[in-house]
């Protein structure tokens, strides 16, 4: 987006940086690349600080997903009765499902929070996108620990994951990206409409139930049919447009042998991600520009 500059007027050549009102900072993306080291260092700082300050340190990263799994397993497996439908231990299904969904939640929270505090922004220049990127990077340590727990569960339940599980690592990324995009949009609007900050966690919780996180498509169909045809078609209609269904199913497919890869749903998810991320970045860039002046 480099703006065409006036013909060369300085003997020593073009300026390295031109700062202008409403400048379309053409080198933003170049800067982002140059500052990549900062993203890693900030992520390391966050991790170090987090585990230095808590008593059980890394323990929390293990306890949180396990507790989460137990609760979901109770709700969906025991109370809703989804437990007995597959060969695969239900606890593993739920754990994997929560892991995929958790990436999306992490993206949204990071994106929405990226514009909340000025911190370094008022002190020194760097592309502000470094902040959410480093947050996501630092959260990868939690993901790694979750995988460790998952491995232990495999051993405990005697479950052998398919080779395609290797694909589960790259498949963690799309939900984060979608979440970041959505988070940026939410974050930028919540500067003006603060209520959004209270509303979106509800939306996320709701999303967890309408997305096949703790159940399969068949589970859902069964339940809905019991409730009534109308509910089923409503649910199916929503599934068609739910941006997370595709990613969630793809992630579960990569680890769980009883899940089918839903190509259509995956494409729907991708079709959502592109505009949402674009919108999110546009909003983020606009907000970061005035940011320092407001806070």
């Amino acid at each position: 987006m480099a703006k065409s500059k006036a013909p060369e007027q300085y003997p020593q050549g073009r300026p390295t940086v031109v700062i202008e009102a409403n400048g379309r900072n053409g080198q933003y993306w170049k800067d982002l690349w140059n500052y990549r080291g900062l993203a890693f260092l900030m992520a390391r700082r966050d991790v170090t600080v987090r585990y230095k300050q808590t008593i059980i340190g890394f323990g929390w990263a293990i306890i949180t997903p396990i507790f989460n799994m137990i609760i979901m397993s109770l709700i969906f497996g025991t109370f809703a009765g989804f437990r007995e439908t597959s060969e695969i231990p239900y606890n593993i299904s739920v754990f994997v499902g929560a892991l995929g969904w958790g990436m999306f939640v992490r993206g949204v929270n990071t994106g929405a929070g990226a514009l909340a505090g000025a911190g370094l922004a008022g002190k020194v220049y760097f592309p502000r996108l470094i902040n959410p990127i480093s947050s996501v990077l630092s959260s990868l340590i939690d993901t790694a620990i979750s995988y460790l727990v998952l491995g232990l569960m495999f051993v405990g339940y005697g479950y052998v994951p398919p080779l395609r599980m290797l694909l589960s690592f790259p498949l963690l990324l799309p939900p984060v990206i979608l979440g970041l995009g959505a988070g940026f949009v939410i974050g930028s609007y919540s500067i003006k409409w603060r209520d959004l900050r209270s509303i979106y966690p509800f939306a996320l919780t709701l999303g967890q139930y309408v997305t096949p996180v703790a159940y399969s498509a068949e589970n859902a169909a069964n339940v809905m049919q019991k409730v009534g045809e109308g509910t089923l078609s409503l649910y199916q209609m929503f599934s068609l447009v739910n941006p997370m269904t595709g990613y969630e199913l793809a992630y579960k497919w990569s680890i769980l042998t009883d899940v089918q890869f839903d190509v259509r749903a995956f494409l729907v998810s991708v079709a959502w991600t592109v505009p949402v991320l674009w919108w999110g970045i546009v909003r983020f860039r606009k907000a970061e520009r005035d940011f320092v002046d407001i806070v």
Partner: protein, 424 residues
């Protein structure tokens, strides 16, 4: 500075506007000025609804050219726009209008130890701080020993910085930035920290950076640093540049609390000096400094010449004029000069006053004129009008070659004529 040196930084017509929100009194509020419950509720309601957005120009039409190798100081009172200017230069915020061009790498130290985290060790913080200032890992590795030596942290480098003394913290922060070596370095106030020895070390480093051909921009309230390091100094006031040039001169303008006053002014409507209302008989209408350059400076060796015009309503044949001078913490008055037949009829007359000002120390002064009625016995009597402070002038530093420069702090404020030395 060498005019042929290439530009390092050009600031062209830069302005920065902030929007301040103020709560406005709703016109309806007048109806509810009583203290009843209903009235108070109404006040809350309307008071909340109406906010007024007001523009605040932190900087207006700033033009600065800085060439390679210059060390430029920026001084000004709080709120003059210094920090805003630095924020614009370091890309923390964008200008509202205008354009800033930068040649080469630029690093800003607006605070020492930016992004330091108390939980991390000194070493971890050095890498983090380096990255924030734009260095990559290899560059920090390369300079790590230098940073360690400069900061004198020694064995504490692997201790969390929360256990550092504030001096250690600051030293480490400065050390990282000092080894940065960008083409253009922007520094805000950071020299004012640390103990005397470390401060000296920082100043030496700054001087070395300047001598290496780097460009430095220094914002400070410490005039000693400006004197020592800067080859040029800019004075900001209310978001505008009021002076750009010799540091000594800049400091004098800044410290003298002096306003930059015009060379001529219409004072017919101006308030009268010292609560003096003036009388209906006569009114000073305008004021002009003659023979001064566009920066109000009286040429060296010349006398101060002031032209003023006054309009009298009645014939005032005998009056006394008196010139008064304020500035540099002193008030100086010339003896009154009685003038015969000054205003023979009602009407406007102009006069010039010529005053020897050799004994004034260099700096800014405000001018005032007082008109007295002359009494029967030819002495100045009632003051009939007086104006002060509408016009200002500057006394330049005389050629100091072969002389010790005037030292106001020790020598006071008035230069006496040279003493005559005789053998006794």
């Amino acid at each position: 500075m060498d005019d042929a040196a290439p530009y390092a930084l050009r600031v062209e017509g830069v302005s920065k506007k902030y929007i301040i929100k103020t709560e406005l009194k709703h016109p309806k509020l007048k109806e509810y000025e009583d203290r009843s419950v209903y009235g108070r509720m109404a006040q809350k309601f309307y008071g909340k609804l109406r906010t007024q957005k007001k523009d605040f120009w932190a900087l207006q039409d700033i033009n600065i050219d800085i060439r390679k190798g210059e060390c430029v100081g920026i001084i000004g009172k709080n709120g003059a726009g210094k920090s805003t200017l630095l924020k614009l230069l370091s890309r923390i915020t964008e200008p509202t209008a205008g354009r800033i061009s930068v040649w080469g790498s630029l690093a800003a130290m607006l605070e020492v130890g930016t992004g330091f985290n108390a939980e991390l060790t000194g070493r971890e913080n050095v890498y983090l701080n380096g990255a924030i200032l734009g260095m990559n890992r290899a560059q920090v590795d390369e300079r790590f020993q230098e940073i360690l030596d400069f900061s004198e942290i020694g064995q504490f480098i692997d201790t969390p910085v929360k256990r550092y003394s504030s001096g250690m913290y600051v030293r480490l922060g400065f050390a990282v930035a000092a080894t940065l070596n960008p083409d253009i370095m922007i520094i805000d106030e950071v020299l004012a920290v640390g103990d005397a020895a470390f401060r000296k070390k920082c100043e030496d480093r700054m001087e070395r950076i300047t001598n290496q051909g780097n460009t430095v921009l220094l914002v400070s309230h410490a005039m000693a640093n400006i004197r020592r390091l800067c080859s040029r100094c800019i004075v900001l006031e209310h978001g505008r540049i009021i002076f750009d040039g010799n540091p000594e001169e800049a400091i004098r303008i800044y410290e003298g609390e002096s306003k930059v006053l015009p060379v001529r002014a219409d004072v017919s409507g101006a308030s009268r000096w010292g609560g003096l209302k003036g009388t209906a008989e006569i009114r000073v209408k305008s004021f002009e400094l003659l023979g001064a350059d566009d920066k109000n400076a009286i040429p060296i060796g010349e006398k101060l010449r002031v032209k003023f015009s006054a309009e009298s309503q009645v014939p005032l044949p005998d009056v006394c004029f008196q010139l008064q001078i304020w500035g540099q913490g002193i008030t100086a008055s010339a003896p009154t000069a009685a003038v015969r037949n000054a205003f023979p009829t009602a009407g406007e007359y102009s006069y010039t006053l010529t005053q020897e000002v050799e004994s004034l120390r260099p700096g800014w002064y405000e001018l005032g004129v007082v008109i007295h009625k002359t009494t029967q016995d030819g002495k100045p009597g009632t003051v009939i009008d007086g104006v002060r402070g509408a016009v200002g002038f500057r006394i330049l530093e005389t050629d100091t070659a072969g002389k010790v420069p005037f030292r106001p702090k020790e020598w006071g404020v008035v230069t006496l004529p040279a003493a005559v030395v005789d053998k006794y």
